[in-house]
Amino acid sequence: MTALLPLPDAVADLIGDGDTVALEGFTHLIPFAAGHEIIRQRRRELTLVRMTPDVVYDQLIGAGCARKLVFSWGGNPGVGSLHRFRDAVENGWPSNVELEEHSHAGMANRYAAGASGLPFAVLRGYTGTDLMRRTANVAPIECPFTGQELTAVAALRPDVTVVHAQRADRSGNVQLWGITGVQKEAVLAARRCLVTVEEIVDELTPRPGAVVLPSWVVTAVAHCPRGAHPSYAHGYYERDNDFYLAWDAISRDREAFAGWIREHLGAAV
């Protein structure tokens, strides 16, 4: 039975210090509100997993929540660098963050293996790159049928996956649509999951092309209107591109960043 919880309770119940936590959402439906709650509750030593770390992980890293980052592309899309991520990697501020980096195809297949209950996935990728040398959880493998050399990537099994969706019903069945990214795989790969939603409705109206997560794979649902802002929720609000642009200046400076976290999240850095 899915628990319908206020967001602070859901984060307190599901996410502990030292956990491996994946917040997914490919540009669309990024669970920002949940990320902010993790910062407010001062979670520490997290292994943060996410294909595109984006601004939400810039905030978590800058606030000192991360011990390790598993990812494939860490930038502010269309804008430039993630300055808190860079400051942690280049200068160790606020602390050193260990990196495990992949390609998008590698990360997507790692989630798919986790969701499939397999120890690894196979793809044609990473060949000839230095990623192969630098990254654990990637290894060459020979096809037993053709002898082709392919690449194996280890399954990802987060302790907790957090995603944002448009709607859930009162039983905790979840529906999301538009760009659905890798959310289904990330939820099914995880030991437990939290879904924040724009709306809780009496009945989910079927939508062509929507991903539906039945309540029995969803640990908890929290009602968070605008919980994906400044990313977007298709059919509800658009991506706040101005915020992504503004983040560049806020995040460039440690003081400005700490001030923003204090002012907007009521949390100390």
Partner: protein
């Protein structure tokens, strides 16, 4: 009409996309050029973004590769594992269109770190994203980047991506492609660019043909279409 070197680079990149091709579009300049091509000579260019949007027809330039306008105008929206496995890896993409921070003499691409020490880099770049598989699995690759001795280097600090098929590199100074032995060589100089300038902005002893071709300057139509795309984009640069 006068044009900037950036505009020349974008127009040259757009021209490299033939009508009807299926093009996997990276973020930034590739997206601008691909959308310009669709508005000029290649109205049937199929734009594929790694967010899972196939056949996107945005009416303005998206800031990210996952803006809502891409999903709203796409022929199909699929998940991220599917876009990489079924569509890219299986060989359904004609042209992989990428940006880069560094490219080297042998055409290796770096978008990961600048500096000798991976663990303590001088500059931490965003990383691989979709590029390794876009470069390896597309039938051909086009790479766009601004050219300087820091971006055109003898050897990249980190090999993020390796292009496996025919490759064209387009910069603000000219156009390059690999010779038979794999070394990048100049093929075209953009208007007003001297051979000397191209050599100075290259970190290795650049091969230049006896009479490099000249890129045609942007037409009025191309520039007008590019500038009409620009307003939404301006805020991002």
């Amino acid at each position: 009409m006068n044009h900037t070197t950036e505009e020349m680079m974008t127009v040259a990149a757009a021209r490299a996309l033939r009508d009807g091709a299926r093009c996997f579009v990276g973020i930034g300049l590739p997206s601008t050029a691909a959308n310009l091509a669709r508005r000029t000579h290649a109205p049937n260019l199929v734009l594929i973004y790694e967010s899972g949007t196939i056949g996107a027809k945005p009416d303005h330039l998206p800031l990210s590769i996952g803006d809502g306008v891409l999903a709203e105008t796409a022929d199909a929206v699929v998940g991220v594992p599917e876009i990489f496995n079924y569509w890219l890896q299986a060989g359904r993409v004609d042209i992989g269109f990428l940006g880069a921070a560094q490219i080297d003499r042998l055409g290796n691409i770096n978008t990961t770190v600048i500096g000798d020490d991976y663990r303590a880099p001088a500059v931490r770049l965003p990383g691989a994203g979709g590029a390794p598989e876009i470069a390896a699995s597309s039938k051909e690759a086009i790479v766009v980047l601004r050219q300087s001795p820091r971006s055109f280097v003898e050897r990249v600090d980190f090999i993020t991506s390796v292009c496996s098929g025919p490759t064209t590199v387009i910069t603000d100074l000219g156009v390059y492609s690999p010779d038979g032995d794999g070394e990048l060589a100049l093929t075209h100089l953009h208007p007003g660019v001297t051979e000397q300038r191209a050599r100075e902005a290259c970190g290795w002893d650049l091969r230049v043909p006896r009479a490099p071709k000249r890129t045609a300057p942007p037409s009025e139509g191309e520039l007008a279409a590019l500038r009409a795309l620009a307003p939404r984009r301006k805020a991002a640069t």
